[in-house]
């Protein structure tokens, strides 16, 4: 399937616009919140028992250093120029740690967690949803689905805590937090790889259990629609094998709205994953972002949300670009 240049260009354009709007909102919102990030930094140090005798001087020195005294417009322009270069300067509350370093350390964990969870949750949910209809699993199917739906209605944060208590503290099957074994090096060895997988298991399970039900329901209703379609009747009349009909007709067609939903759901999945990371003290963006919000660490908030928006927008862009390949009917001109 060859995509028209105009389609690709339009997708890119909307991608850029989305990222720009998000980046701007991202700039304005933390600044609309009352309070002063430098003051927050000092307050945090003091709460930890440190005595900052001359906070007024320190605050003044830092305000100057971070250019927080400049006009909002100047700050915005310099923010945008540096955002394009993926340079967000230094963390306000963790000066002089560069924001991009914080992000680059954490991003692989978050992306890994998200990618694996989304793939598992989407595949399992979608396949189960299709199979329940296709294999005509009636009441017993509902029995299978109900727990998943129930789990889907629990906030991921709470689900994470429940899993932690059951599988880590009670059964001790999985470690309770972090991404690596305590005391282990970060070298790439088989043992470390297995450890990373074990540490990722519960966070991934939290996200998968919370979201698979949604995919299942969506796929189930789409599969019902497809099984009532004319082309399925014809496929049966053609004497095709069940497997062929299931894959080439049922799944291939019913999955299309799922893929669209995937792009839509991406944002909320990321949001949920952030909290799950906090529960598991997983070294992803989550705990940094949460703390940065508490500390009004503008630069970190900006850098992280920008990165998340960029990731989500890229994922949506990829889905958009792949979609015509999945659904040849897509009308390039109307989109």
């Amino acid at each position: 399937m060859r995509l028209p240049v105009s389609y690709i260009a339009k997708r890119f354009l909307s991608f850029v616009v989305v990222v720009w709007v998000a980046a701007s909102v991202n700039f304005i919102v933390p600044r609309m919140a009352p309070g002063d990030p430098i003051g927050a930094m000092v307050a945090r140090m003091e709460l930890q028992g440190e005595v900052i005798e001359d906070s007024a001087e320190l605050i003044a020195a830092y305000r100057e250093k971070f250019g927080l005294d400049g006009s909002l417009w100047d700050q915005y322009v310099s923010y945008l120029t540096s955002a394009v270069q993926f340079d967000f300067g230094h963390s306000l509350s963790y000066f002089p740690r560069p924001v991009s370093d914080i992000i680059l350390d954490a991003l692989p964990y978050t992306l890994g967690l998200l990618a694996v969870s989304i793939i598992i949750s989407f595949t399992v949910g979608t396949l189960l949803g299709a199979l329940i209809v296709w294999l005509k699993i009636g009441r017993s199917g509902i029995g299978l689905v109900a727990p998943l739906l129930l789990l889907g209605s629990i906030p991921q944060y709470l689900l994470a805590i429940i899993l932690l208590f059951v599988f880590s503290f009670a059964l001790r099957w999985f470690p309770s937090g972090g991404a690596h074994a305590l005391g282990a090096s970060h070298d790439f060895t088989l043992a470390n790889f297995i450890e990373v997988a074990r540490h990722g298991a519960l966070p991934i399970m939290s996200i998968v259990l919370a979201s698979a039900g949604g995919w299942l329901i969506g796929m189930r209703s789409m599969t019902i629609t497809v099984t009532r379609s004319d082309y399925l009747t014809l496929a049966k009349a053609k004497g095709l094998s069940q497997l062929r009909i299931f894959y080439h007709y049922v799944i291939r067609n019913a999955i299309l709205p799922q893929v669209t939903n995937l792009a839509i759901a991406m944002g909320s999945i990321v949001g949920g994953a952030i909290l799950v990371e906090v529960v598991f003290t997983y070294p992803g963006l989550g705990s940094h972002l949460l703390r940065a919000i508490n500390n009004q660490d503008f630069t970190v908030i900006q850098g992280m949300t920008y990165t998340l928006v960029l990731s989500v927008a890229s994922a949506v862009l990829i889905v958009d670009l792949l979609y015509p390949w999945l659904d040849p009917r897509i009308n390039y001109e109307d989109q």
Partner: protein, 564 residues
Amino acid sequence: MRTPANGTRNLLQSADDRDTILSLNDLHVEYASATGTIHAVRGVNLDIRRGERFGIAGESGSGKTTLVNAILRLLPETAQISAGSIHFNDIDLSRLDNRSLNFLRWSRIALIPQGSMSSLNPVMKVGHQIAEVIKTHEGKRYNKDVRDRIERILESVGLDGRVLNLYPHELSGGMKQRVCIAMAITLEPELIIADEPTSSLDVVVQRQVAKTLIDVQERLGASIILIGHDMALLAQTAHRIAIMNEGELVEIDNVREIYHRPRHRYTQMLINSLPSLEHREERDIPPVARADGGATPLLDAQAVTKVFGYKGHLFAKSTEFTALDEVSIEVTGDFPMVTTIAGESGSGKSTFANIVLGFAKPSGGAVYYRGKDIARQSRSEFAQYRREVQAIFQDPYEIFNPVYTVDSLFRVAVKKFKLARGNDETMALIEEALRVVNLSPEQVFGKYPDELSGGQRQRLMVARAYLLKPKLIVADEPVSMVDASLRLMILDLMKSLRDELGTSFVYITHDLATAYQISDQIIILNRGKIVERGTPEEVIKNPQHPYSQSLIQAIPSPNPDIKW
């Protein structure tokens, strides 16, 4: 598995029997539903001969599609063959296991589905959809030979062989239908079941496709069962016709007998309800002069143009296309009349209806209602216009708000247009309107639109239009989805509204036969342009434009003696 054509046959069978390819014996099909068992097919007996084109005619709900699905064993879960047998050659299809069925399907019995617009897998290329039957039944991979073979088959139904590389949405309706025909004949089956094979096509294409179907059937020597509701089409294509009503075959005979000497009452009704192009009843009530008539036309469309899409820009090609191109139509205000705007799909006739109803604004030109530009009415003028100009649509389900009961919908209409004072007066008005369309309040009050049958909804639509006693009704394909009996009733109603209430109609249709019967003026649109206009006699009997000629020529006559 494949039964040899000769040899193992039971020698006691008669010559006639040997000629029989499909034999249904006292076939019963039942559906389980929430309200009880529905007996959809009731004791059908039928023999179809080798090489025969056999038509089964019936209205919606008559059980004809259930019958087809029973033969192919494609009944839904809830349905079952409760009695009887289906013998295909020597094999009782009703008792075959799935594996054997899959063997038999397509290689010996193929289907041309109803609604072939949606019968092709939208995400699979046409070639693959044909190739997969070759792979499944002959075990051949999609290689050069198979490709060539598919191309040849596509060419044999009048398509370009390269169509195999296209997706269904890239094809027109007629092309899709041909693809379905090509698919059906790929394995050269003995029996083809064609379920309403051309019902979604425009008349010109319908004729071509029907001809193609007959052509390939004759070439293969296969039998074909043609299912349809259009008696005229069946009359032109089938050798024998069975009439199906409420699950039973009420009459089976050859085409001529059915047309000229229908025996069953139901058959007679069907034949009588057929609009004919041969003669029309002249309008017997002379036009009455109206008090508010005069020089000003009731509706005056002047050079109405509608362009859809947008001009291109840096990233997009222009997608403009002209749906209406300087269309001028005048409906006189001197006397009530029916003006038909006829055309195939894409001709712009529905766009015109939408502009007249104020749902769309013309890109150029203007529509004047009693001298006022409808696009420039004041709020109060527009409210008045809304009351005086009503609409009847093809599928009224989309028109009624599904969250209101029928009576509240009607009450709201009465209240909105201040037609009555007080509850009693309101009810009296509503009941009168329902009576006109043969509905009783008990049948519909308290029900939601989706609890009613399509026919009931269509009648409600007419009743609502009647309730408001409009000056003009825009009827957009009001009868294209309804059964013959209801069609007759609605068309009669239109006539009586015109003659008794003095309501004028703009009748939008693709069906020139009904247009011929009820119109006072016919306008034929083609690709947004008027190609023909005049009285029904002028337009139908003596069309000037080649397009009109081909259109009229393509209309099948219910009389088998008049060749298509």
